[in-house]
Symmetry: C2
Subunit: 515 residues, 2 copies
Amino acid sequence: MEWSLWGVKIVHVMNAVYLDGVGMTKFGKSPRTLTELFCQAAELALEESATQTVDALYIGAMNPEEFTGDGNIATQVVDALGLIGIPSLRVETASSTGAAAILAGFQAIASGYYRRVLVLAGEKMTHLGTSATTSILARVIDKRERDCGATMPALAAMITEKYRKKFRLSEKRLESMLCAVALKNHLNGSKNPLAQFQKAITREDYLGSKLIATPLRLYDCAPITDGAAAVVLTSEKTDVRLAGVGQGTGPLSLQERDIFTSFPATSRAAERAYSMAGISPRDVDFAEVHDAFTPFEIITTEDLGFFPAGKGGDAVLDGQTAVDGPLPINPSGGLKSRGHPVGASGLAQVVEASKALRGHTLIKRAPKRALTQSTGGLATNNFVTILERADAPTVQNLWSPSPVPPTAARRHPLSTRIAAEGVVETFTILYVTPDGFLPPLALALVRDRHGALLMAQGEDNTQLKIDQEVYLRRVDGVYIFTVKSQIQKVQQAFMKLFRRKPATKAKVDGHGELE
Amino acid sequence: MEWSLWGVKIVHVMNAVYLDGVGMTKFGKSPRTLTELFCQAAELALEESATQTVDALYIGAMNPEEFTGDGNIATQVVDALGLIGIPSLRVETASSTGAAAILAGFQAIASGYYRRVLVLAGEKMTHLGTSATTSILARVIDKRERDCGATMPALAAMITEKYRKKFRLSEKRLESMLCAVALKNHLNGSKNPLAQFQKAITREDYLGSKLIATPLRLYDCAPITDGAAAVVLTSEKTDVRLAGVGQGTGPLSLQERDIFTSFPATSRAAERAYSMAGISPRDVDFAEVHDAFTPFEIITTEDLGFFPAGKGGDAVLDGQTAVDGPLPINPSGGLKSRGHPVGASGLAQVVEASKALRGHTLIKRAPKRALTQSTGGLATNNFVTILERADAPTVQNLWSPSPVPPTAARRHPLSTRIAAEGVVETFTILYVTPDGFLPPLALALVRDRHGALLMAQGEDNTQLKIDQEVYLRRVDGVYIFTVKSQIQKVQQAFMKLFRRKPATKAKVDGHGELE
């Protein structure tokens, strides 16, 4: 945008945005209230800042209403900090909320509307049981899938199984890859004094940990955590610049996806962040990515363009993403070992990345540029943020946004009639189930003959594999699948040969339809 | 901010922000889901827009998790609209959430980060009972006050009683003022096809409506409502400009306030919005303000600088704020008659104001400039937005933000010991109580001898008035007050005269302290 006023040429440029002080509570189980956690992180960030005043607060919290009964959290925090008067606004995008707060804070400074803002993000979760926490977390997934017994780990597991199939990995090979992510991140976390888990784990620890949802074990999943993080953003030049930030969304439901083994919400966010910072993936020195589940770290490093599709796991096994490798991933320990207070994680990544750029890092060669990536829900609302040292070689930021291409909705037809048979697109056996569902619970995403995908519960857990043929029934609004036996298949072929019209629909030849 | 690059003088200016299409569902009781309401409003706004594409969504919803069990609402809505891929971010500031979404959208465009954004705000409430709804709404007030039985209407009533006392209004005079607000807004709403209530009310209707919390009647309170609103913001010039926007916060708790009869959160937001738009209150042609309670309209018109303190009620009685008066207030019917889907109201005001600026209004002389004011919680998080027609006489917007003065925390000392007697600062008798509290419930804000304010429940409801002396006890963590009788006062004076040391503390002479 360019115009002229009283002979002065006016070019619209975004204000550059820099990071001043940052702060973070110890992550883990805390006796503090949510507001106290926010205040602690805020005070650390303000203490570290050049000046202690800010123009406004941007606060991220995913679901304080249900976790702790706290409403009006933005006001609660500004009040508790003794800053009543100044604006305070909450943002939320499920588990990427902390990154959303950074984007909102960025826009507030880049516009010139504010000069200094305090970005805060936190969550308080450990006081509730695992079952209650799992239920609250499951609010972020599609209701139809939730009603079937699906949880976040269940959906992540189904993604993982599909990934294994697509890239033709043996079960052992996949297990080694996931284990390598867990071991690396726990090793990194063991050296981070603010991490929830302070010790490295062994391959035996990993293999001995219980199955949550096949193929994911306990050590593939980030823990339940309390914690808060804080970052002061400013238009005054500091040693670290917020060079790029991008957001993208993906379908809420697995049932409506075309792509299972990568997350377009990440690629979209990355595209914008890279173009804004004027860099490409190879200019990134290290990254903090959303490893709420170990396979997500692998998929995400592919979506970010660090490794080709299907090669992220090999990179971990080869040590390429270790702190002493060419591209350290989650040098802070990641969500896996640092902990995952859902609303806080996206901002905690920025805190960790800026600390590393300022020299507090295990990474040997001083990094100049960092990337953080945060995932909201099952890759439904993702963010990528790029930070760089002021002394990093950089292009002058005269970046101007190009219009975002209109996105065609790519929905599968939600037909009202579902064929009574189909094939398994992907599946999991869930061992930690939500209230009201008995473990083990077989869940499969089934593609019916019309091409529609639907989440279904299994009547039996054996013989389950991708591309398996199944029968479908509907009971009390939930789809139930039964694996077709060899005998049934032969029987069916035989009957087709001799009879055109089946005696009863669905039950006999499976060509029927369900309501 | 000004700098030079390759001989071109670069001046940082905010991108101007304009309104394109706007839309709003019918407010009231709707059979639609929250997401469907959002989509309906969005489609109306997009249809009315120059182009149907947007770069991102900014979504306001106050508490969909508890009202309807909806998490990850930003993704749900972008998905339901068939716009998966584009960024979608939720903001929340209690009952001013819709206005917060406008601020976030404004900053997104003003920064140049996006060119067109769809701002949406909505809430779905009517499917729950009044008691459940009241409980969810009470989440926004201070927990200590909530535990005492206080609700939003109770706190609003206490503010009103204090206002009556401060400005020496008789009960009749105050009643006439509040009634005048209700009658005016219902009359305006009766002509707004999207309003929840489509008919005017009479003085008899008003006086016949039940007491909710003295002195407030049912017709002083906004209803429970379903609805959503949508506005497309763009950097391309249109006929209506978003000329100013400001936010301010106020103490969460009544117990920690110095000022009861005006809302500093409004004045602060207004100061910024006026300075940004380069105007003063007298340049405003009409306003939509947050009349969740009729007295709030009166107080707000004073805080906005339209009328001197204590004169807002006279202005209503004199017809100055009627649609044919010099400064129409809530020509759309306001929250009172249009309805109050909490998260939506702040944005609905912007929709109504822009429609009026575009000629769809009851106001006779075509208005050029409108102001909207939204209140979050009990005036804890407020917004002011100024819209003007592109043909309005205006200063060139080279406004640059001045640093916000640091706000000293003005807390009352939260002493651990509370004197066992004090005086009533303000009070109400609550007739519609939250679950677990029997009506009528006397509530008073009591100032103890140390100057600390605390919320207390009354043992008896008679003789209650401001400045009344009371005894205080603490039972199960809740303060209980008893009005001092004349006999007790004489007794106490008598005992003071003859005895220096009381036999027992607190109980006898009231000089004791509570834990």
